[in-house]
């Protein structure tokens, strides 16, 4: 029985993702970075001691991405930083999806004044422009040393609203279906209806949104670090980029061009992997893009 279930899950969800070209390439890119984040720091040692004799070395076998202003190997920093970049992004996306799902399902299911209030809360977060609000929020905490969970929550607050809006629309459409009526007649309880009946239908949808959040979660967290508004791991790519462009002025010296270049290349490649996976999964699961059934 359990095996049947697993193979159904494989044929329904995993196989379509692997056969779509976009999501496959996206998955390969992301796996590469996840591998870098998990086992990379164990294989590649990090030596942050400055060595001025070696500053701004061109990429070579010894230094695959060259060295920075202080003569520190850039490749080592990228590998070690990938851990905080990826964990922050995944945490922020996860929080956004959890908050968005709770608000969305509640808004879709609850009627009357309470529902209206929930709807207003979601709309408020929709109309407040995310990035400026995030800047203010970051300024409040600028002197606090935040951990990954706290920064991820800070970012997630500005990501969940669109998902909540979409989920509430989906729930509104499903809740009048017969099997929900049946559960209600059988007195199955609100919890069962919400989390078993409705959530089951929403899971592919929530998964798509988790993946599409990745892009903005990454952009926001890197932006925060880049602006120097949140103190965190010094090898986080946003902080590295801040050092490269503003502290070391790498773009002013012809010798330093590779320094920001490799940081930006990794940022863009990682976000591109996320976009490809999201596009692919959307093509597979979004009935609108699938054409007529």
């Amino acid at each position: 029985m359990k095996n049947r279930r697993f193979s159904n899950f494989f044929y329904d969800y995993i196989q379509p993702i692997l056969t779509n070209k976009k999501s496959l390439i996206g998955l390969i890119i992301l796996s590469f970075f996840i591998l870098m984040a998990t086992i990379g720091p164990l294989v590649v040692p990090l030596n942050m001691n400055s060595n001025f004799a070696e500053r701004y070395q061109k990429p070579s076998l010894k230094h695959p991405f060259g060295t920075d202003y202080f003569g520190v190997d850039i490749f080592q920093q990228i590998v070690h930083g990938s851990r905080s970049v990826i964990s922050l992004t995944l945490l922020a996306s996860l929080f956004a999806v959890i908050i968005g799902t709770i608000f969305g399902v509640a808004r879709g299911y609850i009627e009357g004044i309470a529902g209206k209030i929930l709807d207003a809360v979601i709309t408020v977060f929709l109309v407040i422009p995310s990035f400026p609000a995030l800047l203010i929020l970051a300024a409040i905490f600028t002197n606090a040393k935040l951990n990954a969970v706290e920064i991820a929550l800070l970012v997630a607050i500005w990501l969940w609203a669109p998902l909540a809006k979409q989920i509430s629309a989906q729930v509104l459409a499903i809740k009048s279906k017969e099997f929900i009526e049946a559960s209600r007649m059988l007195n199955m309880g609100l919890g069962y209806i919400l989390f078993s009946d409705i959530a089951k239908l929403l899971i592919p949808y929530i998964f798509i949104n988790f993946v599409t959040q990745i892009k903005s979660a990454m952009e926001f967290s890197i932006g925060l670090m880049f602006l120097g508004l949140a103190k965190f791991d010094p090898t986080h790519w946003g902080i590295m980029l801040n050092y490269a462009l503003y502290q070391a002025g790498a773009l002013y010296t012809p010798k330093g061009f590779h320094y920001p270049f490799f940081i930006i290349l990794n940022i863009v490649l990682l976000i591109y992997g996320g976009i490809l996976l999201a596009q692919g999964i959307e093509e597979v699961f979004n009935p609108k893009l699938r054409g007529h059934e």
Partner: protein
């Protein structure tokens, strides 16, 4: 039917007004939770100018800003809201002037760049998207879609910094900052207008390029979807020319939903423009917003943020009205 439409509009207005009040109140509380006394900076300069004790200077600074430090947040909040209703966006401690004055001189620059960027990105995006969809499956489609996706993967601030460093610092074909050269008096001469356009190129492209990619991908998706619709097959069966079908039927119907989201995108650009303007030192509202955060100018910050939120809500309302006009199903709600 007319009555229904009017009711829909009035309902939405009331609802969005409530949302506006909640949003602005939230922003007010958030800003006032920021650490630091906003009057402190002003007090320091007063103390230096007039050779005064710091606590005395602080008292004067609070008087100038109209802030009573012993006043509760609630009282301040109600004054802020009632001022806002009178069209008074508050007072900037850092610039020692009313926020209205700063808005008056900075908002035109922001609107200028945003409208330019929107026009260029929308036109190019619509064209590229429709073109890619009609060539679906060919190498041209692959190139357009791939480039658009890669552009989407570049964070806007990275793009802005790259444009600034490559074209202004290294190649020196664009100015480093400002809306026009500091040594030139504003006038309506051709020369001055050319200078203004030259200074707008950097921020304009930094804003337009990500938008362009987004419009292209959206238009490509919509066009592909419309091409599958039954009425297109009917049109083909009626023997209409391919070019007529492509332009009159497919392009227009694919474009309509995008026209509605045009308003929303302009609203959001008001907020998203902050970083671009700060990076290019372009004196629009985003530049002053970034400055206000850096120097903890609470008055300027709440004033500008309220303005941005009002902009987004007005844009949302306009978009909803356009949707209602385009899609008759919306009216029935």
């Amino acid at each position: 039917m007319e009555g229904n439409q009017l009711r829909y509009i009035v309902d939405r207005l009331v609802y969005l007004f409530i949302v506006l009040i909640i949003a602005i109140s939230g922003v007010f509380v958030l800003v006032n939770k920021m650490p630091g006394d906003p009057a402190y900076g002003l007090a320091v300069s007063i103390a230096q100018q007039r050779n005064m004790q710091m606590d005395q200077a602080l008292e004067i600074a609070h008087k100038i800003m109209g802030v009573d430090p012993h006043e509760s947040l609630v009282v301040r909040y109600f004054r802020f809201i009632s001022n806002l209703f009178k069209g008074n966006f508050g007072y900037s401690a850092f610039y020692q002037t009313s926020v209205n004055e700063i808005i008056a001189k900075s908002l035109p620059w922001t609107l200028f760049v945003i409208s330019l960027a929107t026009f260029v990105s929308f036109m190019v995006g619509i064209f590229m998207g429709a073109f890619a969809a009609q060539k679906r499956g060919t190498i041209i489609d692959l190139i357009i879609s791939t480039i658009s996706s890669i552009i989407q993967a570049v964070p806007p601030f990275v793009l802005a910094v790259l444009i600034l460093f490559i074209f202004a610092v290294r190649l020196r074909v664009l100015p480093i900052g400002g809306a026009y050269p500091v040594d030139v008096e504003p006038s309506f001469s051709v020369q001055f207008i050319l200078k203004v356009l030259h200074h707008a190129i950097g921020p304009m492209f930094a804003t337009a390029i990500p938008q362009m990619a987004a419009w292209t991908l959206a238009m490509r998706g919509n066009t592909s979807q419309v091409m599958e619709e039954d009425y297109i097959r009917f049109a083909q069966a009626r023997g209409l020319k391919d070019s007529v079908i492509a332009n009159k039927y497919i392009k227009n119907n694919a474009m309509l939903p995008l026209v509605a989201s045009l308003a929303i995108s302009v609203g959001y650009m008001l907020g998203g423009h902050t970083l671009v303007e700060s990076i290019f030192n372009y004196p629009g509202i985003g530049f002053y917003f970034g400055k206000a955060i850096a120097v903890r100018d609470f008055g300027l910050l709440t004033g500008l943020f309220s303005l941005i939120v009002i902009g987004v809500i007005v844009a949302t309302f306009i978009a909803e009205i356009i949707y209602a006009l385009i899609d008759p199903r919306v009216k029935l709600k």
